[in-house]
Symmetry: C2
Subunit: 207 residues, 2 copies
């Protein structure tokens, strides 16, 4: 049992939740350093000081563990962007602030980002679908902003198209910036993207 007589959970000496966190932290670090392919489950197990089957018991597979990392990191990224968006004075500033927050976060957390880049690694099987769901929160946020700024004549399909466009654009820009020697600043990138998209958003015509 994990509860006392009054039903309150009690600290066990071997605490599953804590172990899961330990494993996840180590996985995040190693995946971030060496990439998905370059990381072995044995390595993560050794880093935590635990045997490999334990990790399989908790996370099911290498994909599962990677996905758990991805999911947690994406959540942090979404928080950073959401916060920036909500703090903005008007809709135009909100979109711009969101872009800046996105690029800035990725500049500040290169290891986190390199995990997110490796999302592409999961292009096969059920993991691909799971990875899409992780990204979906983001697309949702973007879709909401699009809805607020586009003409009311727009239909749901078009909103999806625009949201996917913006999501794809920001991801590609982020990857490109990390692979370029002297990338434009987070701010300039965000500003250019904003200039490119803002007008068009308001003038989307019906099909």
């Amino acid at each position: 049992m994990t509860t006392t007589t009054d039903g309150v959970p009690v600290k066990r000496k071997r605490d599953r939740a804590a172990r899961e966190r330990e494993i996840l932290d180590a996985a995040e670090r190693i995946f971030g350093d060496r990439g998905y392919q370059g990381t072995s489950m044995d390595e993560i197990a050794a880093e935590v000081g635990v045997s490999k089957p334990l990790i399989y018991q908790y996370y099911g597979s290498k994909d599962g563990l990677f996905l758990a990392c991805l999911s947690r990191l994406r959540a942090q990224l979404l928080d950073a962007v959401s916060e920036a968006v909500l703090a903005a004075a008007d809709a135009e500033q909100a979109m711009y602030a969101g872009f800046v927050a996105w690029f800035q976060f990725l500049d500040d957390h290169p290891r986190a980002w390199s995990v997110i880049v490796d999302e592409g690694m999961l292009s096969a099987g059920p993991a691909a679908q799971a990875a899409d769901e992780v990204r979906a929160d983001f697309v949702e946020l973007i879709a909401t902003m699009v809805r607020l700024n586009a003409p009311s004549t727009i239909d749901d399909e078009e909103i999806q198209i625009v949201a996917q466009t913006i999501s794809g654009a920001t991801e590609r820009l982020a990857i490109w910036r990390t692979r370029t020697d002297t990338p434009p600043s987070a701010d300039k990138t965000a500003r250019t993207l904003q200039d490119l998209l803002w007008q068009g958003l308001h003038t989307l015509r019906e099909s």
Copy 2:
């Protein structure tokens, strides 16, 4: 020797170029069906009716072989899009026609596309850089079109940003369309994208 006395290449019974093509064709088919991870080199070798080390001799590694497939498919895709762009009456039509050709090609060649999607698989090591170079032709084409349509006050960094944006957007849209039950038509997707971007392209202001 592979030449006769007058220097003209002669057909050898065992013809390397032909073998390379055979291997590449088989690899393209199998990678397209089963994905990068799901494909083994033994499988490709068996399909061609050749031993595995031969493939390694010609293509160096699994990544190398995959990259060769990717490169050939990308070239076909680029051709299709270039042709559509060049055949258009004016700049606005050219951009739109390019988008349509892109989405249409991917609808028509699902196996080819699934290889290109797996490009993300090569996020590590020198293969990642090689994959970027394969994509670079495309970004180049887009950059050219941007240059023709944007105000002359734009700088090179901004052109790169815009080109990466468009490249990222089209790729994400293509992936999204394949993973959606009833995706919008190639035409509607292209039209919406065009509406979103065209105006902004002309009003990009200086930093």
